[in-house]
């Protein structure tokens, strides 16, 4: 009898201990949850790594971070615009310096999987035209890095080796200048038929098996352009629904209006999957359009249909399983990431919320995955950072909108 009483006491102790430990967490979780689905769905589970990356040296500071990619060694590359920071952030870079900090970091930074800064380069140099406003960075099958730009004159793409050696340039800056271009009152016009130049490229992605580059073209043009990786030769291009692109202004997005038959600027990403489909971010139209690699329209998925302004579909990345089962979509207007089941394009869950703390977003701009399934994001506007979301495995997710996915151990 005594041992039975003892057993009960110890069991109660253990149960109460776990319950007490979890009570506070449960309350916090309930407050954060905006929507709770009745049934859990199986989805990839992530948590933010607040310790990644490690601090930059030399009083370097990031600007709007508008590109991220992961190379074959799982090193992470970002591109940002540190020179665009206000002087209040660049005290040490003024002449004379007014403070000990800060200095804009070089535009291209490479981080190890552990978050150490490995390499840095970028900016104007001899032999190439650095974009007026660099935009997007992606590693190609050769390991080279491709960079676009959405500055006024940017109509070209740059290719660099990983050590920063300039390799190639496709297109000429200034090609999109209007016929009546006036330096005092500059104007540019899109030309989505131009076979040799671009219109403010947002991002370039690659199909290694076909040796092709997919250009989200872009902030001025309204097309997906497919290039030969080695020569940069334009092979084909298309607009929304596979239509011939038309650069005419179609006005602002209206959620009540019929779907636009053309992309709106910017066409922000065009990523081929490994089963012959291409996922295009038609950003202000709040939709992902899916095509075959020849440009044949397959389907579209509208996300957060009532989003105005900059739109909801900024960048896509695929899960790293062989089937690329999930699609991750960055949304810099609603400050979150969508997790979609690729087969049905059903939104399983979202994570993130507006703010500047770890796991929050301000201008979720770009997204990429590594071989272990981890997600990396960069943020533009005043977000100005890169974040890592550690893949914890596939598990049941109850909340349709998870909010900040803070590390479980610290909640």
């Amino acid at each position: 009898m005594k041992w039975l009483i003892g057993t009960t006491v110890v069991a109660l102790f253990l149960t109460l201990t776990v319950a007490c430990a979890n009570m506070e967490v449960a309350e916090q979780t309930d407050e954060v949850a905006e929507e709770t689905a009745s049934d859990a769905v199986m989805a990839p589970v992530f948590e933010v790594d607040p310790m990644w990356p490690k601090p930059l040296p030399n009083h370097w500071i990031l600007g709007s971070a508008i590109g991220v990619t992961v190379d074959s060694n799982d090193n992470i590359w970002i591109i940002h615009r540190g020179n665009g920071n206000p002087n209040t952030e660049l005290g040490a870079a003024q002449d004379p310096p007014v403070a000990e900090c800060c200095i804009p970091a070089p535009p291209v930074l490479q981080f190890s999987p552990e978050g150490d800064l490995l390499n840095h380069w970028g900016g104007p140099g001899e032999g190439y035209d650095w974009p007026g406003s660099n935009h997007g960075i992606t590693v190609d099958p050769m390991g080279n890095l491709w960079i676009g730009g959405n500055g006024g004159d940017d109509a070209h793409i740059l290719v660099f080796a990983q050590d920063g050696t300039f390799l190639k340039q496709f297109g000429s800056p200034g090609a999109r200048r209007a016929e009546s271009f006036d330096e005092a009152d500059p104007s540019w016009s899109g030309n989505s038929m131009d076979p040799g130049n671009f219109g403010r490229v947002a991002k370039i992605s690659f199909d290694a098996s076909a040796n092709e580059a997919y250009v989200a073209d872009g902030y001025l043009n309204k097309r997906v352009a497919v290039l030969d990786i080695e020569t940069g030769t334009l092979k084909r291009y298309w607009g929304a629904y596979g239509n011939e692109p038309d650069d005419a202004d179609i006005g602002r997005y209206d959620p009540e209006a019929p779907p636009a038959q053309q992309f709106r600027n910017p066409v922000h990403a065009a990523d081929p999957s490994n089963d012959g489909l291409v996922y295009v971010c038609d950003r202000p139209n709040n939709r992902i359009q899916v095509f075959r690699t020849d440009g044949t329209f397959v389907q579209e998925k509208v996300l957060s249909v009532n989003t105005l302004g900059a739109g909801s579909t900024w960048d896509v990345a695929f899960s790293k399983d062989s089937e690329q089962k999930y699609v991750y979509v960055a949304d810099g207007q609603n400050m979150k990431v969508y997790v979609l089941l690729r087969e049905t394009m059903e939104v399983l869950t979202t994570f993130g919320a507006g703010g500047r703390q770890p796991g929050q977003f301000f201008g979720t701009h770009s997204i990429a995955t590594d071989s272990k399934g981890n997600i990396y994001t960069t943020e533009t506007y005043e977000g100005k950072r890169v974040q890592k979301f550690t893949y914890m495995g596939e598990g049941p997710v109850e909340q349709k909108d998870q909010g900040v996915i803070w590390p479980a151990a610290s909640r």
Binding site: L4, I5, G6, T7, V10, A11, T15, T17, V18, A21, N22, E24, V25, A40, K54, P57, D71, S72, S112, L117, L118, N119, W121, G123, G125, E126, G127, D140, P141, M142, G143, N144, A161, Q162, D163, G164, T165, F166, L167, K168, G171, P195, G196, E230, G232, T233, L234, R236, W238, G242, P245, D294, G295, T296, G395, P396, E398, A408, A409, R411
Partner: protein
């Protein structure tokens, strides 16, 4: 429908490739270099300037004995091949048309002459360089032996391929003459000089079938690919011995055992009960008899923390000896699951001697625990002697209570933290399978532990020694 570019029109377009010089300005590079010199040591540099030693290198290799030959396939980044001049073109592309000789030299210099393979204890002579191929960094062929072999023996990259030399992967096939594919093989990789930190994934495909994956960083010493039982046992005894000394929560649990009892014979009994228990669950986990769900590891860690809290409290309230081994046995079952996760990646080093390796690991853990006891007991005796309030007869030393409070306090924080993590997995209300496993597992573990602990707690114990 996509808009096709007419061939003539597209060809008429002249991208700027090749029109410009491809050299970055020297001044910029000098400035960058100077900036780098101020960076803390934590920031490593990789090959940005000339042919430096790369910081992180990953080597992938397959070893497969087949009949009278042993094949070794290796993939190494070309940038790791120092002291070899590769023919370049343009801004730094590997000139594939002229690269064969330098690639062969690099392969023999940095791999063929460095790797030592032994057959039945005798080192094999230098291998024949059967094939060398430059590959793209995105090439996925080294995921399996078959695809790696097919790729390395397959056609080379087209000569016009423009791949920057430091981004090239060097794929090499070596062939060694052996007397039998059933011999005992071992390998001394010797590849640690390829970079500041060299990580190797070595897959051994024995003639009997199957595959063993060895992952290591730097120089692991000579790896017995087909170890004899005593070789496997020795390696795993050492692994177990070092592992217990690295695990803070296991050490605190041990300390809880030592704090109130200082008679070696008693402690050896307790520690042995612990070892037998964790051996059972460690072997079960290794054989795949545990849930693969995400919540399982947090569950184990939570209960491990609870075990320390319980033992510390028992030390304070009523340390009894007669039944304590039962509680220790119960908690040992849980700690075994914790050991299993640490052991999983090491098991290939045991070759075919899985059970021997597991038992040897446990022996190593037992030896480590005994060492801890041998160190702690005299220290505690001295400590208790000088702390005021030392008990006599049946009283408990004040020192034992203070130590138990400190240990229990530490473990309590772990318990709260790990319990919170476990709660996040929402074990109770997930999918039907998850709920079943979760509830059953949690209740079973708690009941086993509670029953054993309750039994021990309510029986009369011996007075403190």
């Amino acid at each position: 429908m996509a808009c096709r570019i007419p061939v003539g029109r597209a060809d008429g377009v002249s991208p700027l490739q090749g029109r410009r010089t491809a050299t970055s300005p020297v001044a910029v590079r000098v400035l960058l270099y100077l900036a780098f010199t101020g960076i803390a040591a934590a920031v490593s540099l990789t090959g940005a300037y000339g042919h430096d030693i790369p910081s992180d290198i990953t080597v992938r290799a397959f070893v497969k004995p087949e009949g009278q030959r042993l094949r070794m396939l290796v993939r190494v980044p070309l940038e790791a091949m120092l002291d070899v001049t590769f023919p370049l073109s343009g801004p730094g592309y590997l000139d594939l048309a002229r690269a064969d000789e330098s690639l062969n030299n690099a392969a023999m210099l940095w791999i063929g002459q460095e790797v030592s393979i032994y057959e039945n204890g005798s080192r094999l002579s230098l291998p024949e360089l059967a094939a060398v191929r430059a590959s793209l960094p995105s090439d996925p062929s080294f995921r399996t032996y078959e695809s790696a072999l097919a790729s390395t023996l397959g056609p080379p990259l087209p000569e016009g391929t423009q791949v920057y030399w430091q981004q090239v992967m060097l794929d090499v096939l070596f062939e060694y003459r052996i007397t039998s594919d059933r011999s005992e093989f071992s390998i001394l990789p010797g590849l640690e000089r390829l970079g500041m930190r060299v990580s190797t994934v070595l897959r051994f495909l024995p003639a009997a079938g199957g595959e063993r994956i060895y992952q290591f960083t730097g120089n692991p010493g000579r790896i017995m690919l087909d170890p004899r039982w005593h070789q496997a046992a020795f390696r795993f005894v050492w692994q177990g011995f070092t592992h217990i000394l690295d695990g803070m929560d296991h050490l605190l649990f041990l300390l809880c055992l030592v704090i109130p009892f200082q008679r070696l014979r008693v402690l050896v009994i307790l520690v042995t009960a612990f070892t037998i228990a964790h051996s059972i669950t460690l072997i079960s986990a290794t054989l795949g008899l545990t849930p693969a769900a995400l919540w399982f590891v947090p569950l184990v860690e939570t209960v491990i923390a609870a075990s320390i809290v319980y033992m510390a409290l028992e030390n304070i309230v009523a340390p009894g000896l007669r039944r304590r081994w039962m509680a220790v046995f119960g908690f040992g079952l849980v700690h075994g699951f914790g050991f299993a996760s640490a052991l999983r990646d090491m098991l290939p080093f045991g070759g075919t001697h899985l059970l021997t390796s597991l038992l040897a690991f446990n022996v190593g853990v037992e030896l480590g625990q005994l060492l801890v006891i041998l160190v702690c007991v005299p220290i505690l005796r001295v400590l208790y002697r000088y702390i005021p309030g030392e008990g006599t007869g049946r009283a408990r030393p004040v020192g034992a209570i203070i130590l138990s409070v400190l240990v229990g306090h530490t473990a309590w924080h772990w318990l709260v933290e790990r319990g919170g993590t476990l709660w996040e997995f929402d074990v109770m209300s997930t999918s039907p399978d998850g709920a079943l496993y979760g509830v059953a597992g949690l209740l079973a573990l708690m009941l086993v532990i509670a029953a054993l602990a309750g039994w021990a707690l309510t029986r009369p114990g011996r007075p403190l020694e």
